[in-house]
Symmetry: C2
Subunit: 390 residues, 2 copies
């Protein structure tokens, strides 16, 4: 086991009655609040009114900024920063999914900084302080509600950068599984793939002594395989929705990666896809992850055997390691497909190979030429992964 | 799943090099520190010198108080409170196992309180503030390093009270698995039983929708069953020691109980045993838990079947639920015995039945007449559990 620190202080308030606490919790945001949200679905669902009423009851003053899009844009972040400065906002309340939370985190980092917040995303500067962020989560997927990460896209350059910083962890996150009842099936499935990918990026590790966290990762992956079909068959199945939502938070609050060497190459390979083709992140991961597995499984066969046996109950026959490993890869691909996700480039809407070289170069070069850890990938490796995903 | 809050902000610093950070971390204790410890084993092991040097290097002023015994005493807590007041101590650094941490928490609560700290333990008062507590852990067992709990014994009345309060969570905990190499085998085994009991108290629940946390509990229990024999066979097996230590923290930082209805009757039944006979808590639990299972397994047979199949790989034959459940109970008892723990009252050193009635009465009455939740136990039930443990 590697030496590690674990500090995940986000207060999670979970359940049917959790929204009653939004106003009181928001006192922790320090004063006037920016309520940040996306397309307006929170207005249609009534959540917007619930948030507004709870803030008013608690005497929390606020301004608002909607319009966050999937793969959140730097231009809106800049707009949010200007608004917060003008209105002397002290903290941000993100109401929505991962894109909204990521946008809120970038605004929170940018307000007290005299330069361009992109400096942080481009790893050129480190912030001294950021505004506190609270979350009301509506989409279990990105895990941003308790993570130290944000991902923002700069439109002009099609650069999609992820940035990790301990100051970005939300102060609190309110999770009501009922809010996920109205998610379109495709979005539910994309969330499931994203959650599983967060675990898989940690699961495939070169650190040998990870018995307990292996089993926790497997616990989460099995839970998703069991619960996702239930939530899709019956969108108002509270139990299934709750399992997915709680798992989504624990998949990415760092718990499952402690003591391990994490990988994250599939995320980087997907980021390049969604920066150019604007595909849903979870859908891109469902295409990329099985292809990544196919490229590299032979080098650490025993780990892919364990994955197949423990997560997908593939029967193990001694001496048939490769067959077992391949069956595990086949099953995760079949699982993604069964919940309505694309599993090929064509299904994803990537029309041809014209961007493969560019994406492969960017995926490797933005990581300083060293992508991943379980197997360090070269530019040709990444191009091959895009091909294997066809 | 039940509605819940989860807030576990203790910073865990884990690994071979973690002790280098003790001094820097202790700046969070607010000023002058009381270094609190037990019998002096930390002096023999050299840890005392490491702590002192790290505090001095970081410029942290401190006084010290040793002498904590297993089942920590109220008298020493009083002594610590008086010392902290006299020396104007701002925070406590507990160096040791659960007893030392529990004693430190009680001192931390007592210093700013004008009455007797026992008021808190007896649930008569609630503290407004407590001093911050930091931890350097040497025994994986109680989970006190990241929990909101303390257990203290009042010698005169043989009362052993547990008290939970969010203010009691340590600010940081330094965990170096190498420090557990020198634990006597019996103490290692007692720690394993305590850790497993913390999970079992949460695992046996009447909340039906707990798929993910069930699997996390099972992950932890399996890890202990696998790793404990390794640590006992080879005391300097870093990997095994690390798995046990990390599992010990996660067994009791509240993670595994979220969304569940917890039980805790076996802990209460054991507390009465150790208050009178001064047995090791983990040893008492190894005797009590299988007996509790035997009393109640028929009422929620499916949960005991799941336990047997998923934790101990008991083969399941349709229609043979009771046999499967009983085999699970037999295996956990056999496991405790295999790692050198007592599994009967006689082996525990309880000579006769003379205290059964008194202990059963106290176990039930200190819980307001309602002990446990998975099955609410009466005084005769508890007496029967002591008998089943013979």
């Amino acid at each position: 086991m590697q030496d590690f620190s674990f500090y995940s202080p986000t207060e999670i308030v979970f359940g049917k009655n959790s929204e009653q606490q939004i106003g009181t919790l928001s006192h922790q945001l320090g004063g006037k609040v920016l309520v940040h949200y996306g397309s307006g679905s929170i207005k249609r669902s009534g959540l917007y009114d619930v948030v507004k009423a709870s803030l008013k009851d608690a005497g929390v003053e606020f301004v608002e900024l909607g319009g966050v899009q999937p793969n959140p844009r730097l231009s809106l972040v800049h707009e949010g920063i200007a608004l917060c400065r003008k209105e002397q906002v002290q903290g941000i309340l993100a109401v929505g999914g991962g894109s909204t939370i990521d946008s809120a985190k970038a605004i929170a980092a940018g307000v007290p900084y005299e330069g361009d917040v992109w400096d942080f995303l481009a790893q050129k500067e480190v912030p001294k302080t950021v505004l506190p962020v609270g979350v009301v989560l509506t989409i279990p997927a990105a895990g941003s509600e308790a993570s130290n990460a944000t991902v923002v896209t700069k439109e002009e350059t099609q650069e999609k950068f992820g940035w990790n910083c301990e100051l970005l962890r939300p102060v609190f996150a309110v999770l009501n599984p009922e809010r996920t009842y109205t998610l379109p099936p495709f979005q539910t499935a994309c969330g499931v793939a994203d959650i599983m990918a967060h675990v898989l990026e940690r699961y495939f590790t070169n650190e040998p002594n990870v018995a307990f966290s292996d089993r926790m990762c497997e616990a989460l992956l099995r839970t998703m395989v069991e619960q996702a079909p239930r939530a899709l068959a019956e969108p108002e199945d509270y139990a299934a929705r709750a399992e997915i939502m709680w798992a989504g938070t624990l998949a990415h609050n760092d718990l499952l990666g402690r003591g391990r060497i994490e990988d994250w190459s599939s995320h980087m390979i997907e980021h390049e896809l969604s920066a150019i083709y604007d595909v849903a992140h979870g859908a891109g991961l469902a295409v990329v992850f099985p292809a990544w597995m196919k490229l590299i499984y032979q080098e650490r066969l025993e780990r892919f055997v364990q994955f197949a046996v423990r997560v997908f109950d593939v029967p193990y026959t001694a001496g048939e390691d490769e067959k077992t490993a391949l069956e595990g890869i086949r099953r995760i691909k079949a699982f993604f497909s069964s919940i309505g996700l694309p599993v090929t480039m064509k299904e994803l809407g990537v029309p041809d190979r014209s961007s493969y070289d560019l994406m492969a170069e960017k995926a490797v070069n933005t990581q300083g030429g060293k992508l991943g850890s379980f197997r360090v990938l070269s530019i040709p490796d990444v191009r091959r992964i895009y091909e294997l995903a066809e």
